[in-house]
């Protein structure tokens, strides 16, 4: 089969959908990768944080202020506070243990259950949806296909988050502390960095990113208590492929998986949902540090 016969199969809308799926995945995965890169904690509850961000945003929009952007910020900050509280009360106790990695994974898995049930208790088992904010709530026709403008906006927002985070990590004082602590924790502590406080701060930031991801993705998905369990697995795939701890890796990994989810079913009819897992296995075996950059990039 020649290339020219393959190309027409890929419509513009497939690409846009793939990129917007990728943007959503990036917003889920980037905080997970940040937390792992600095703290060495693989936060199983990150999908729960994402889901919580979506729920809080929906609740604020329908009960408090009818402004999506304000609600999204409130949702993100609320999740940040929850995350910081969990780090401060539970995860902090495990850093010094011999097998801390697995204990952290199990404890954060415990929080998966707690968050899932709490969300179900507060908001019920049904699913909610929300219209995109008015500014972007119109259809775009481009190259013969039509899609909601919010899909494009989400791609822009994901890029903005990536650039903002990169500037924050590389150009600010706090960012330099984060980088320093991530590459050598003991040396940073000796140089006077308050490591425990920094860890809580980074966990807060990572949780805010998860909450923001859930909030911004809310118009493009139905929000139900099962959401957290679904997205955490996608987030694991993305950070493994991009490289645990790498933020640019998370972006590339997310876009790859997004495109795979959008285009995969057109090329392989059976077993298409298995491909991302197969990719994850292969990357773990061949390049456990991920395809892009090493830890701490």
């Amino acid at each position: 089969m020649s290339l020219s016969s393959l190309v027409p199969l890929i419509g513009i809308s497939d690409v846009v959908i793939g990129l917007s799926l990728g943007s959503r995945l990036f917003l889920i995965a980037v905080g997970l990768s940040l937390i792992f890169g600095v703290l060495g904690v693989l936060n199983f509850a990150h999908g729960g944080f994402y889901m919580l961000g979506a729920y809080v945003t929906l609740a604020v929009v329908s009960n408090v202020v009818d402004n999506f952007w304000v609600a999204a910020v409130v949702g993100a900050l609320a999740v940040g506070v929850v995350g910081a509280a969990i780090e401060f009360s539970a995860i902090r106790r495990l850093y010094e243990r011999a097998d801390s990695d697995l204990d952290q994974l199990i404890v954060t898995f415990g929080f998966v259950l707690v968050i899932h049930e709490t969300v179900r208790f507060v908001w019920g088992s049904g699913s909610y949806s929300i219209d995109p904010p008015d500014v972007f709530n119109f259809s775009v026709t481009f190259g013969g296909s039509t899609f909601n403008a919010y899909r494009l906006a989400l791609i822009g927002l994901a890029v903005a988050v990536l650039v903002g985070l990169w500037l924050f990590i590389t150009r600010t004082y706090f960012g330099s502390l984060v980088r320093g602590t991530s590459s050598d924790r003991e040396m940073a502590a000796m140089l006077g960095v308050d490591v425990p406080r920094l860890y809580t701060g980074v966990f807060f930031l990572g949780s805010v990113l998860a909450g923001l991801g859930g909030a911004l993705s809310a118009p493009l998905q139905s929000t139900s208590p099962a959401l957290g369990d679904q997205v955490i697995i996608d987030a694991f795939i993305v950070v493994v492929i991009g490289g645990l701890g790498s933020m640019s890796g998370a972006f590339v990994g997310a876009m790859l998986i997004g495109m795979m989810q959008s285009l995969g079913p057109q090329f392989i009819s059976a077993g298409s949902i298995a491909i991302p897992f197969l990719a994850m296995v292969i990357v773990l075996l061949i390049r456990p540090e991920g395809l892009f950059g090493g830890i701490g990039e």
Partner: protein, 368 residues
């Protein structure tokens, strides 16, 4: 004064009980419980069978986690492997086997053949999956097993080979054995309980033998210090691989039993949330103890059942186990069995103070 006397008597009684906790008596009590359960009301028989199956699942999982330190989030793959193995044999080979051995005994023979096929299937999957997975450690091992499990889940759901019947799963019909006028429904609660109990006890004994063999000792050495094990000339990778395969096989047996109990082999068995049940049961019970996963499975199923008695709480039982899991890992890593050991040690410890009665009293006074 009188209160202190009672306290002394209680502690003396306690130490007498603790002294009697020998393995033989434990075994005898266990056997008695297993027999008595057979006469319990039908639902209790079902619940106990469920407990036995989950216990074997967790026991198999913990062979890897507790004895080599590798945390798998993908053992649902082997649980499902056993379940689908027997379900597909029952569906596709049942009539063939009936032709060969006669219709009377065929359900039992088919069940045995299916069990063996399930086990062989699980081992056939575990050999390559384990070989690849044990190259990684800690978080990376957890992630690759999770990925293998979800890979299996995807394939079962999408069913490219036309074997697994997609999201509906494969119905398991165990049939009725008919021998000279005596008919026994293999899937009947009490019959199936008997099959499960015998299988689980035999498998547990097998695992116990493995753990206490030279092989098991080497595994424990690897768990304590992989580097030192290497320095002693132990092939760590090979031992981890072998443990992975044995662990998967035990989980596969549990999967075979699960299929018959649930009357269906469903794709949910491969999902990571099923693998997590083994993690929850093992951690709550105490991963460093042989019986930890069994006690954990007991707590898991019976507390879940107890919670389900209260309609207001029924839907939120996961909340309880999430909180319990967090509390155990943070504050009491030894789990429930560790707690029982502590209580026993305290009772036996009081026994040591027995000759000096005054000391015992002081301790009692301090304690209250």
């Amino acid at each position: 004064m009188s209160a202190t006397d009672t306290g002394g008597r209680v502690s003396r009684f306690g130490s007498a009980v603790a002294e009697g906790w020998t393995r033989e008596r434990f075994g005898l009590i266990g056997a008695l419980v297993l027999v008595l359960v057979a006469f319990a009301p039908p639902f209790q028989v079902y619940l106990f069978t469920d407990f036995l199956v989950v216990a074997l699942f967790a026991l198999g999982f913990n062979l890897l986690y507790g004895y080599t330190g590798l945390l798998s989030f993908g053992h649902g793959l082997f649980y499902a492997g056993g379940a689908y193995g027997i379900a597909i044999v029952l569906r596709d080979l049942g009539p063939v086997i009936a032709d060969v051995v006669g219709a009377g005994i065929s359900p039992l023979v088919t069940f045995l053949v299916g069990g063996v096929v399930g086990l062989v299937l699980v081992v056939a999957v575990a050999v390559p999956v384990g070989w690849l997975s044990v190259r990684l450690e800690e978080i990376y091992f957890a992630l690759i097993t999770l990925a293998f499990g979800m890979l299996g889940y995807s394939l079962i759901i999408q069913d490219p080979a036309g074997l697994t019947n997609g999201t509906d799963g494969v119905i398991v019909l165990l049939g009725t054995v008919d021998l000279g006028g005596v008919s026994l429904r293999v899937g009947g609660r009490r019959i199936y309980y008997a099959i499960s109990a015998v299988t689980v006890v035999a498998a547990t004994y097998g695992v116990w033998r493995v753990v206490n063999s030279p092989f098991g000792t080497v595994c424990k050495a690897i768990r304590e210090s992989p580097d030192r094990a290497v320095a002693l000339g132990i092939d760590v990778g090979h031992h981890r691989w072998m443990t992975f395969i044995v662990s998967a096989a035990v989980v596969g047996v549990a999967g075979v039993l699960r299929a018959g109990l649930a009357s269906v082999a469903s794709p949910g068995l491969t999902h990571w949330s099923t693998s997590a049940i083994a993690v929850i049961a093992t951690v709550i019970g105490g991963a460093t103890y042989f019986y930890g996963p069994i006690v954990g499975a007991f707590i898991f199923l019976y507390i879940r059942w107890a919670i389900s008695r209260f309609p207001a709480l029924e839907a939120y039982w996961e909340l309880f186990f999430g909180a319990l899991l967090i509390a155990v890992v943070l504050f009491f890593k030894q789990g429930a069995v560790g707690g029982l050991m502590l209580i026993r040690d305290r009772l036996v410890g009081d026994d040591a103070d027995e000759p000096s009665d005054d000391d015992a009293r002081t301790t009692d006074g301090d304690g209250s």
